[in-house]
């Protein structure tokens, strides 16, 4: 028996797909949970190799995600991160070495994984996600996020929702999002416009724990209170004209010394330079194993979505959110977070509909026309583009300032193809139109 097993292992080890033997066991045959219409074998292998995946973030979660995707058979991976490697990253961001300190995370991570996993291509971009346009995001089969910023998540979420074109099924990009904080974490899958989005789930993010300002000002009890005091109050009092740069060691040193002095006044021990850095930069404690757990579950879902080998998290009308808590023993819970009908990003009216208008008509004409449209019937509308406040019915000062726009022609106010957003107190929802001049 042992001999048979070892010789069959040997056969596979010699073939071209030798290292994917265990993956192929899943992709090469039907399993108890596979869809009856799913066909295992060659097309599935190829689909996985062709699937272009974008990883956002090459930090604690990102290192794990890149490693896992490469070891799961993905061959065409892109990664975006604007940060450079700091010495404090080295304890858990295992794709980086001491000699890499100061280099771009995306570049170093891509090189490392490419070298370690033969045949995988990783294309780094060292910059902001906001630098890239719709066309760039359109090329991917799915996006996996390992971010620590809510702002960046909201941006990519709104971008992916905006990409969805009803005529083009490829325009819906699954968004797989991982997040951790200490022993806690979550993995979630979003099918933009179909299932609950990041904006729908905004209340799932715990707000940053804040201490009342008067506590900081009058009765600090913890070293962190002294640091926050230096950060919020002392800096404003004494260095108002200098913009605080949390990456500038001189600035952190100044805050540290202020905090230390205040802590001495109140006999509070424990203020350190690194604690100052942590409080001021709001560094969330990262635990390597929590990152590993969350990244692993994100990548398994990415694999299942790419191959259809097994049912995955986030399929419309099923569970889409997995929370993990290791604070007190272990607790995990997977549930369906419902789409918010009034979500400002993904409700059907929030998607910009093309609207053909006469560029020579006035804003007033346009609003009058909208008032007659069955879906709107506006009463006290407010309308804007990203750059301009076109007209606000309220508050009075803004009404007065924007009133002159009512008699201007649309082509003086917006460009053809530009998006306008309209809200009205009579409606909980907003309307977005892409104005196209006839």
């Amino acid at each position: 028996m042992a001999e048979v097993a070892s010789s069959s292992v040997l056969n596979v080890l010699e073939g071209p797909r030798a290292k994917w033997k265990y993956l192929d066991n899943i992709l090469g045959r039907e399993g108890p949970f596979t869809d009856p219409e799913w066909e295992p074998g060659q097309p599935v292998f190829e689909g996985l190799e062709r699937a272009k995946v974008l990883v956002i973030g090459a930090g604690g979660l990102g290192c794990e995600i890149l490693k896992n995707l490469a070891l799961s058979g993905f061959k065409d991976i892109h990664v975006i991160d604007m940060d450079t490697i700091d010495i404090s990253n080295l304890n858990r961001q295992f794709l980086f070495r001491h000699a890499d300190v100061g280099k771009y995370k995306a570049e170093v991570a891509a090189k490392f994984v490419e070298k370690r996993v033969k045949g995988v291509k990783i294309t780094p971009y060292c910059g902001r996600i906001q630098d890239k346009d719709d066309e760039y995001y359109m090329q991917f089969a799915m996006i996996v996020c390992g971010l620590d910023s809510i702002e960046a998540r909201r941006w990519i979420n709104a971008t992916l929702v905006g990409l969805v074109d009803e005529e083009n099924p490829d325009s819906m990009k699954p968004l797989i999002d991982g997040g951790t904080e200490g022993f806690k974490g979550q993995a979630r899958v979003i099918f933009p416009t179909m299932t609950s989005c990041i904006e729908c789930q905004l209340d799932m993010h715990a707000p940053r724990a804040a201490v009342p300002l008067c506590t900081l000002a009058t009765i600090p009890r913890q070293p962190q209170h002294c640091i926050e005091w230096a950060h919020i109050i002392a800096w404003e009092e004494e260095r108002k004209d200098i913009t605080l740069d949390t990456d500038d060691p001189e600035h952190i040193t100044w805050l540290y010394q202020k905090a230390l002095k205040r802590a001495e006044e109140f006999s509070i021990p424990g203020v350190t330079y690194s604690m100052t850095q942590g409080v001021v930069k709001n560094i969330i404690p990262a635990i390597a194993s929590t990152n590993a757990i969350v990244a692993a579950s994100c990548c398994n879902e990415a694999f299942k979505i790419a191959t259809n080998a097994n049912p995955f998290l986030g399929f419309p009308e099923t569970e889409n959110y997995m929370m993990y808590t290791g604070d007190e023993s272990i607790y995990t819970y997977t549930f369906e977070h419902q789409k918010k009908p009034d979500c400002p990003v993904c409700n059907p009216n929030a998607l910009a509909r093309p609207l053909h208008v006469d560029g020579n008509s006035t804003l007033q004409d346009f609003l009058d026309g909208l008032a007659e449209r069955p879906e709107s019937q506006l009463k006290k509308p407010a309308i804007r583009t990203e750059a301009k406040s076109l007209y606000y019915q309220f508050p009075p000062s803004l009404e007065e300032q924007t009133r002159p726009n009512l008699s201007k022609k649309l082509n003086e106010l917006v460009e053809s193809g530009e998006e306008v957003a309209i809200t009205d107190p009579a409606f909980p929802l907003q309307f977005k139109y892409k104005l196209i001049f006839k």
């Binding site: 719709d134 709104a158 905006g162 707000p207 000002a217 309220f394 803004l398 460009e415 107190p425």
Partner: protein, 180 residues
């Protein structure tokens, strides 16, 4: 054929220009909705230094009752793109004598920090600010001296408020004249 090709390129360019147009952000949209819901009444008004930028504005409160009646208080609102996850940053632009507002204009109002939630709106904030002038609160002091005065001697505190509103000096500290 060449003509068709150049037409196609033009189309592509136009399409690209279309995709790069900026979209109204979620924070802008939310502020726009919140503005509809402001109840300013007769004692408050907003000013937008740049009407195109609705994320930065000032709110003037002119209480018509209470110890601060007759004053005109101007607060600076700065809202970032992470609103409503992050609360608005609110500061008083004048140096005033108030137990919950320090000499730099920092405001101690729970919903501006520790009790902020994304379901709260800008109206909740302006109601909270208005309330600070009707019921200054000695138990959340940002200006310790003013809080002490309010606790120890309410009548003396009232006199100090009147003096400070006129631009006078209280305990050696001079204040901005904020009478309307």
């Amino acid at each position: 054929m060449l003509k068709i090709w150049s037409m196609k390129q033009q189309q592509d360019e136009a399409a690209q220009a279309g995709t790069k147009k900026k979209k109204v952000t979620a924070a802008q949209l939310r502020v726009q909705k919140d503005l509809h819901e402001l109840s300013l009444g007769s004692t408050m008004r907003t000013t937008f230094p740049n009407p195109d930028d609705i994320l930065n504005f000032t709110l003037t409160i002119e209480p018509d009752e209470g110890m601060y009646k007759g004053g005109s208080f101007v607060f600076d609102f700065k809202i970032n793109q992470n609103f409503p996850h992050d609360p608005p940053k609110v500061k008083c632009t004048q140096k005033i004598y108030h137990p919950n507002i320090d000499l730099e204009g920092n405001v101690c109002l729970n919903i501006l920090r520790e009790d902020w939630k994304p379901v709260l709106n800008l109206n909740a904030v302006i109601v909270g600010l208005q309330f600070l002038f009707l019921e200054p609160n000695a138990s959340d002091p940002l200006n310790k001296e003013a809080a002490e005065d309010l606790k120890q001697n309410r009548e003396g505190f009232k006199r100090n408020v009147r003096a400070s509103l006129g631009g006078g000096t209280v305990r050696g500290q001079s204040f901005d004249r904020v009478l309307k």
